[in-house]
């Protein structure tokens, strides 16, 4: 197995607050890891450390970067961009080639064709020349998936990909991820633990500390041992679980999940 990224004794946080502590974690080729944990538990911080956006306060991050086109493809949460920014869908997708094409590069016909193909595969081939303000949240999410994939990355990181996506596209997306996993490692952050545990190979529970569970089958007792309290509710084939933090009274209405 080829190692892609290794975290050794990593602690990270913001200002004077430590969010992640003593994390030892490695990502290998063809991994399919679901990252779960309560809000504020450090899931996004872990992603930022992996992407090199946040320098750890302690410990080391080693990337075994083989100088491929784009080592990591990244799908952020859509909420962080200005939807009214004047940019075309085609340009958003091409921005996924930023690190491999230099600063002055003008995109080739081949790059454009690849972008069009990806958009077509995502079922939004007709939107290439629209601008971001004309898109729905779900469409923009698909554009961002194309942006993450255009560099043919070794590792694909998806941060809450199911936030804006409708149910039909969600199952499409997971099926496509299984296909992509034949070529690349995938890390998916989600609060919908039940659904992702159905697709992923392993689970990383993040709640200040990281506990790596080398299976996609996990029990409530194991989650409690990992200090990552979860309630698993099973519905037929797809187990459904609801996250729950120790301290606060959870206000989610569980009846609605029936």
């Amino acid at each position: 197995m080829t190692k892609l990224i290794q975290l050794t004794d990593v602690s990270a946080g913001y200002n004077d607050t430590i969010v992640l502590r003593d994390v030892n974690f490695e990502i290998n080729d063809r991994d399919f890891i679901g990252v779960i944990g309560p809000n504020g538990g450090g899931k996004t911080t872990l992603i930022k450390v992996l992407l090199g956006l946040l320098k750890p306060a302690r410990g080391t991050v080693t990337r075994f970067d083989d100088a491929s086109d784009g080592f990591i493809g990244y799908l952020p949460q859509t909420t962080q961009v200005d939807k009214k920014f004047p940019i075309t869908v085609l340009d958003i997708v091409l921005s996924g080639l930023m690190s491999s094409r230099g600063r002055v590069y003008r995109y080739s016909r081949h790059d454009n064709d690849t972008a069009h193909q990806l958009l077509a595969q995502m079922g939004i081939g007709g939107l290439a020349h629209r601008t971001s303000k004309e898109l729905s949240g779900g469409q923009l999410q698909r554009v961002f998936i194309c942006r993450a994939l255009i560099s043919n990355p070794r590792l694909l990181i998806l941060d809450e990909p199911n936030t804006y996506v409708d149910n039909r596209f969600e199952s499409d997306l997971y099926e496509r991820l299984i296909e992509l996993n034949k070529k690349m490692a995938i890390i998916i952050v989600s609060h919908d633990v039940g659904t992702i545990s159905y697709y992923v190979k392993t689970i990383a529970c993040v709640n200040e500390y990281l506990h790596y569970h080398r299976s996609n089958i996990i029990t409530e007792q194991q989650l409690a041992d990992y200090n990552c309290p979860l309630q698993i509710i099973t519905h037929g084939d797809v187990p459904h679980t609801v996250l729950q933090k120790h301290e606060h009274d959870h206000s989610h209405n569980h009846e609605s999940h029936d």
């Binding site: 956006l53 990244y74 004047p86 940019i87 340009d91 958003i92 930023m98 942006r147």
Partner: protein
């Protein structure tokens, strides 16, 4: 007052004003599109007013006020960014502080300067009809610099502006580009204070761009369309101000706003008609 447009070009001041309009349309078309796209209108207003402090110090020390303004605008632009990044002060609060600091410094230094500051009004309200050869050369330099930078690095600028964090995950030099672009914004503001004045310079950087954004919503197209709108509007405003004997700066801005209002109306009517057509078809 009965000169034909052709005869007007025989006057040196008019030729200069025409050239100034052309250069400012290109530089402000590009920089203004960037400002509008990144929602930097307020920070641009802050830089504009902060630079008044430099003008006041320039008068007081007897140097070219524009030199003082360049220094003040760059310091305030970087100061606002650093203050909001490195401390608890939020960006809009930092803008408010530097905005008023610059104006206060300007007023005090002009008060302390012996004698009367003859073209102070020009700095407040601008006057495209009195631009000098030196002003034109400086504007030309800025225009060439801006056009070169944007055509060389267009995509990098676009991608960083759209999604900074994503650009950072691709190791793009986000901070370097942000500072270079902020410096260009500051320089564009200062050099156009001579043309439009501190009070009105923001109009060159926002109205043509917002008008263009009614019809197109891709940064590159906004840039080209706003250059055209800005040039036509400035020249039309210049001629109207000449024949009606009105202040040129304010007249040009009225033309800009008129064009904006007409564009908005046309767009609303055509959208409504399109919606009705779609309903009939369904």
């Amino acid at each position: 007052m009965t000169d034909t447009v052709f005869e007007l070009f025989s006057y040196g001041f008019f030729r200069n004003a025409f050239l100034a309009s052309l250069l400012s349309s290109v530089a402000c078309g590009i920089i203004g599109s960037y400002i509008v796209a990144r929602r930097m209108v307020f920070i641009s207003g802050g830089i504009t007013h902060a630079s008044f402090g430099g003008i006041g110090i320039g008068y007081f020390l007897g140097i070219n006020p524009i030199v003082g303004a360049v220094i003040f605008s760059l310091l305030s632009a970087f100061g606002i960014r650093l203050a909001s990044q490195r401390s608890d002060i939020r960006e809009d609060s930092a803008i408010g502080i530097l905005w008023s600091l610059g104006m206060a410094a300007g007023i005090i230094f002009i008060f302390l300067t012996p004698g009367y500051a003859p073209n102070l009004m020009n700095f407040l309200f601008g006057s495209v009809l009195t631009v000098s050869k030196t002003d034109l050369w400086m504007m030309l330099a800025l225009t060439v610099l801006t056009v070169t930078f944007f055509s060389a690095f267009y995509h990098t600028i676009l991608f960083i502006s759209f999604d900074e964090e994503y650009a950072r995950s691709h190791n793009a030099p986000v901070e370097l580009f942000n500072y270079i672009l902020l410096a260009l914004v500051a320089l564009a503001i200062v050099l156009h204070i001579r043309v439009a004045g501190i009070i009105l310079v923001i109009s060159y950087l926002t109205i043509p761009q917002t008008t263009a954004n009614i019809f197109v919503s891709d940064l590159k197209r906004i840039i080209f369309l706003s250059i055209a709108i800005s040039f036509i509007g400035s020249v039309a405003g210049l001629l109207i101000s000449y024949y009606l004997n009105l202040p040129s700066g304010a007249t040009i801005i009225f033309v800009f706003i008129l064009v904006f209002a007409i564009a908005k109306t046309i767009r609303s009517i055509s959208q409504r008609a399109g919606l009705k057509r779609a309903i009939r078809k369904a």
